[in-house]
Symmetry: C2
Subunit: 152 residues, 2 copies
DNA sequence: CATAGATTGTTGAAAATGCAACTACCTTGT
DNA sequence: ACAAGGTAGTTGCATTTTCAACAATCTATG
């Protein structure tokens, strides 16, 4: 299996990593400066926000934010300690637990959103044409496809 | 300053985050399975490898791998403990320190490269046309531009 | 040359992350 | 119904990352 890779291809990959790190770092700094929840917390909370009943099974939530189950447990502990979410039992499976967005969690989302949105626009969207936006969406979806066999 | 953001734009952004996390996770897992250095270590070592004299000032290295100076200090401590790099004094600035790639560090790079390259191809390059590769390079460079005022 | 202000890199403590082991529970096959 | 094996989530611990404070040194200005 030949896995040759050209310098140009490697450059693209490395720019991908660097661009990501730089953008996240910048936006996270802006959120912190505004006294908002960090980006990673936001991602978790917003998944709950969009889910039916503002709740998701722990494992499903972990999958969505690309975390191990144990990492999510710890993160959820912190969020719960801050009152941003609570856990709830699952009627149909006594092992299971829902993570449920709390009222405070929703407020935290609303508070952070303007800052976050501004960051996304200024550091990301702003630099892209509509075609590029569409192309990026296609590409990222394609990259994720192998990892998500059925559930699109 | 209107910072409106469309659902499609937000989707692109979120796919960016998710795709990145997924790819890194996958490649890191493969490196670990092969008993190689983790991706983050690799990134640091390869910067040194490409630098003149296999060495870089700590602050410059930190900038390149998008880490805070203090985080890099700790990371360099670990790499030094593993014998993958060493520190050296700077003649012209007695505060300064070089991080220098060691022979062992170079070996670690060489050992990890095939695994890493395979991961990059299989999870990233493989899914992209040549045009897309070029387009991504342009885009990521553009995204990074604001952060690097002069020095391209 | 003296001093105020920046910059370099490190430190120690706190927070976050990941791994392996564990409990509790569900599912399957017999 | 029961054992074997799988899954959900948590726990403790070790590793990694971040933050604020610090000492040492450099630089610029008067």
């Amino acid at each position: 299996m030949r896995e040759h890779i050209t310098p140009a291809q490697l450059t693209t990959w490395r720019l991908f990593i660097t661009a990501h790190a730089t953008l996240i770092e910048q936006i996270d700094r802006e959120l912190a400066a505004a006294g908002c929840v960090p980006l990673h917390w936001y991602d978790v909370l917003v998944e709950l926000y969009e889910a039916p009943d503002r709740r998701l099974r722990m494992a499903e939530l972990a999958r969505r934010v690309v975390l191990s189950r144990s990492s999510l447990t710890h993160l959820a502990d912190r969020l719960e300690r801050e009152g941003l979410l609570r856990r709830a039992r699952v009627d149909t499976d006594r092992r299971g637990a829902y993570a449920v967005l709390s009222e405070q969690g929703e407020q935290a989302l609303r508070r952070a959103w303007p800052i976050y949105a501004r960051g996304i626009v200024q550091h990301f969207i702003r630099h892209l044409t509509d075609e590029e936006l569409q192309s990026l969406t296609d590409i990222f979806q394609r990259l994720l496809m192998p990892a998500t066999p059925v559930n699109g």
